[in-house]
Every structure is written in structure tokens, then in C-alpha cells.
């Protein structure tokens, strides 16, 4: 096997994350299409996305999305700024740090309701 370094791994994770996000998107388009069947059907579908196991799986989506986005910016910089390829390793490190930070931030909002933490984002005051 080719023993690549950060460049190869960033390419591989970018691809895997992209495919994962796409898979989610296809499911998401279908679940939103439930709107066509009225409030009862749609709300029941949404309730499914609010259960604990699904919230935990959502974390994988969030991590993949943040990584794919930030690494995408890194790729664009390398493509359009001639000197950038010298810093690709450093940029990869920044991408990983940003990914982890944003993941922790958003992840908290997704996971906290499982434990009954009131984040003030449920308008009807559930």
C-alpha cells in the first residue's frame, strides 16, 4: 500500500466525508418530502430524528460536514494560491483543529437535550 502522509489522508477523509454527507442528504430529501402528507405524518417523521440514537448518529454527520467544509477551503487555497502547497500540512492541522472545535460546539446542542438540559431553543417551552 502506498504510505502517503497528511495529503493522502486528507484526500481520503474528504472523499469518505463527502459520500457520507451525500447519503444523509438523500435520506433528508425524502424525510422533508413527508411535508406533502400533512402535519401528522411529517411530525412523526421529525420525531424520529429527535430520538437519542439518531442524535448520536447525527454527530457523525456533523463531524464529516465540518471536516469536508474546512478541508474544501484548504483545497481551494492550494488550487488558487501558488504558495499554499508549501503549507498544506499546517493547513491540514488547522482544518483538524477547527473541525474538532466546531464539532464540540454544535455537538453539545445536539446531544444535550437527551439529558434534559434546557438550552432555551424549544419555543413552546417544552
Amino acid at each position: 500500500m502506498y504510505k502517503g502522509q497528511s495529503g493522502m489522508w486528507s484526500w481520503l477523509f474528504h472523499r469518505i466525508a463527502g459520500l457520507g454527507i451525500l447519503l444523509f442528504l438523500l435520506v433528508h430529501i425524502v424525510d422533508i418530502a413527508l411535508l406533502n402528507f400533512g402535519p401528522k405524518v411529517y411530525n412523526e417523521g421529525i420525531a424520529l430524528f429527535s430520538t437519542a440514537p439518531i442524535r448520536i448518529i447525527t454527530l457523525a454527520l456533523v463531524a464529516g460536514l465540518f471536516f469536508h467544509s474546512f478541508n474544501g477551503v484548504r483545497i481551494i487555497l492550494i488550487d488558487f494560491w501558488p504558495k499554499a502547497s508549501r503549507f498544506q500540512g499546517t493547513m491540514f492541522l488547522i482544518v483538524m483543529i477547527l473541525t474538532i472545535l466546531c464539532f464540540l460546539g454544535l455537538g453539545w446542542f445536539i446531544i444535550a437535550p437527551i439529558f434534559g438540559v434546557n438550552l432555551g431553543n424549544m419555543p413552546a417551552g417544552m
Binding site: A33, V73, D79
Partner: protein
């Protein structure tokens, strides 16, 4: 493959692949803003359990949000499916399989585009839509 000078390697023939290369990057930048704001609105500003029919009614009363979501749909789906097309191109070599899979991808893209667009266009309010935050069971 002609390589343009000064910058990184890119498909420079001016055909579909060149367009695809630029499309990834342009749509990618747009998607960063569209997707992150979308995540914020539906997970932070409002919890997922409260993204109910009633909330959609409130949001979609303003056509801006239908347009926003439609842009997210178009750019996201095309960006993703284009990526999948390239993945298939990379790993599938047999002629029959390439034709079948790439055709299937094109059809799936069209179907999901239509499904999403129809949902966004035809959504309308109904009497008694229910609570903004229906009861959830964790």
C-alpha cells in the same frame, strides 16, 4: 491534459470536466454558508424536535426561506452527485458497469431534484397544524 501555468494542476481543456472542477469549488464556497446557517437554524436556534410542520409554516410564509432551501438543495445535490460520479469514474472500469452506474446516478439526481423542488413549491398551510414543539420521546 493541458495544464494551466502558475497554479495547481487542473483540467484545462475547457470541456465538462473543467466546468465540473470550477463547479465544485464555487458551489462548495456557497454551500459552506448555506449549510452552516441551515445547521444553526435547525439545531441551535431551534432544537430538532421543534422543526415541526408549524415551524415550517412560519418559515415558509416568507418565500425567502423556500428559495434558500431550494438553493441548498440544488447546489448540495449537484455538488454531491458530481462527487459520486467522480468516485464511480475512479473505481469502476468495466464498460457495462460504467454506463449503468453513471446513468443510474443521473436518474437519481433528477428524481431527488424533482422531489425536493415539488415539496418546496407546493407546501402550503393547513388548518390545525399542531404544536410548534410536539412531544418527543427520547
Amino acid at each position: 491534459m493541458r495544464i494551466s501555468s502558475g497554479y495547481g494542476a487542473r483540467p484545462a481543456g475547457g470541456g465538462f470536466e473543467t466546468f465540473s472542477w470550477y463547479f465544485f469549488r464555487v458551489s462548495g464556497i456557497a454551500l459552506i454558508f448555506l449549510a452552516i446557517i441551515h445547521l444553526f437554524l435547525n439545531h441551535v436556534a431551534t432544537d430538532v424536535s421543534c422543526t415541526s410542520f408549524q415551524l415550517v409554516e412560519i418559515r415558509y410564509a416568507n418565500p425567502f426561506w423556500r428559495l434558500y432551501d431550494w438553493l441548498l438543495l440544488i447546489l448540495g445535490l449537484l455538488h454531491g452527485m458530481n462527487g459520486l460520479r467522480i468516485v464511480v469514474d475512479d473505481y469502476v472500469h468495466a464498460r457495462g458497469w460504467r454506463l449503468s452506474l453513471q446513468s443510474l446516478l443521473a436518474i437519481v439526481t433528477l428524481v431527488f431534484l424533482l422531489l425536493g423542488t415539488i415539496t418546496l413549491i407546493t407546501f402550503h398551510t393547513v388548518p390545525n397544524p399542531g404544536l410548534i414543539c410536539p412531544t418527543t420521546h427520547f
